[in-house]
Symmetry: C2
Subunit: 204 residues, 2 copies
């Protein structure tokens, strides 16, 4: 007696779903069976939506944010934004968290990654040339905010960009580091406390 198992297309689907972040073997099987059990139409809609999105979304040639074919990025095209204030982030997905804070009215620039020798990612793999052109175009009043991560690679990328930008006529700044909002001393790691102490601000 041979043991019954799913037919190959279902096993392939489970394998594909398992590659999604945060989804393990059991979760992938549950998702596949949910699709097969009465939800075939919803599953097909999802498949079409994935393909449409992958086919029609391209990076904005200026800032690297997601745009539809041919359309221009609403931020880069917005005359009400301050185009002399450029916030540099690692990935296009880093842009909306800043936008949602409503504390920034400039434009963005996604590098498409960060310097990471271990992953073989050097300066030539990042959108640094376009950044330098934008800084030149923005004129001498320009300010570049380096909003790369505070991990080793993010700090190295910020240091590298600082050296490059020093040759330009622009101000360079870095996001403040310190205690996250709503958090107590108990939850803070030593490095965060060091940064919070070093960056302490005078009380008015």
């Amino acid at each position: 007696m041979s043991q019954l198992d799913y037919p190959p297309p279902i096993l392939d689907l489970i394998q594909c779903l398992k590659s999604l972040p945060g989804i393990g073997s059991r979760g992938a099987e549950r998702l596949a069976l949910w699709m097969l059990n009465h939800r075939q139409q919803e599953a097909k809609t999802l498949a079409i939506s994935i393909q449409t999105t992958m086919d029609c979304i391209t990076p904005c040639p200026e800032c690297g944010f997601f745009v539809e074919d041919g359309a221009s990025c609403p931020a880069c095209a917005d005359p009400l934004r301050d185009h002399t204030l450029i916030c540099v982030v690692e990935e296009p997905t880093d842009i909306l968290p800043i936008e949602r804070s409503r504390a920034f009215n400039g434009v963005y620039h996604s590098l498409g990654g960060k310097l990471s020798p271990l992953d073989d990612i050097g300066p030539e793999d990042l959108r640094i040339d376009v950044l330098l052109q934008r800084v030149d175009a923005a004129g001498p009043d320009c300010e570049v905010i380096l909003a790369t991560g505070s991990d080793v690679e993010g700090e190295a990328t910020a240091a590298y960009l600082t050296e490059l930008l020093k040759k330009k006529q622009c101000r360079i700044s870095r996001l403040a580091q310190g205690m996250p909002a709503g958090s107590g001393l108990e939850q803070a790691d030593p490095l965060t406390l060091i940064k919070a102490l070093q960056g302490r601000t005078a009380c008015q």
Copy 2:
């Protein structure tokens, strides 16, 4: 200044992903961004896999398990299985958990649901006719194991099938109810304890 947001195809994709079980708003956004950030090829492979599976998987005409177009279900076609022992389950997805226990060498029958007046599911919506035909074909030595769930609808479905099958020449049985393996009295709910006491077995 208008606030920047994802283009419509990405918002649609997030909406589709949110309909998956166990995936909320934040999880759906994370999945969509994971696909857009460097994983476009894997996302397309997933989309094709979903569509292939939804298009080519059909229910086995005998037992209702998942088969590829034209192929016959390996269990129903296996001469080494006991075809006079039929295990009746609610959904095709209930079949593999029993198969993986390696405690069953008969064949399966998925009803495609359970009696549920609240959801407007009556006997005519379940694969009961095919079951009765299979019982007739299996002959007088046939045994039907009712492995529907132990919730109200599962019990009602088992009771309904018992009444129908009593008119046939076949034995009818129900999965034992009692304490789950590896579980203590502390975790057991009162109904499970009642069933475990009622169904107690003599020690040898």
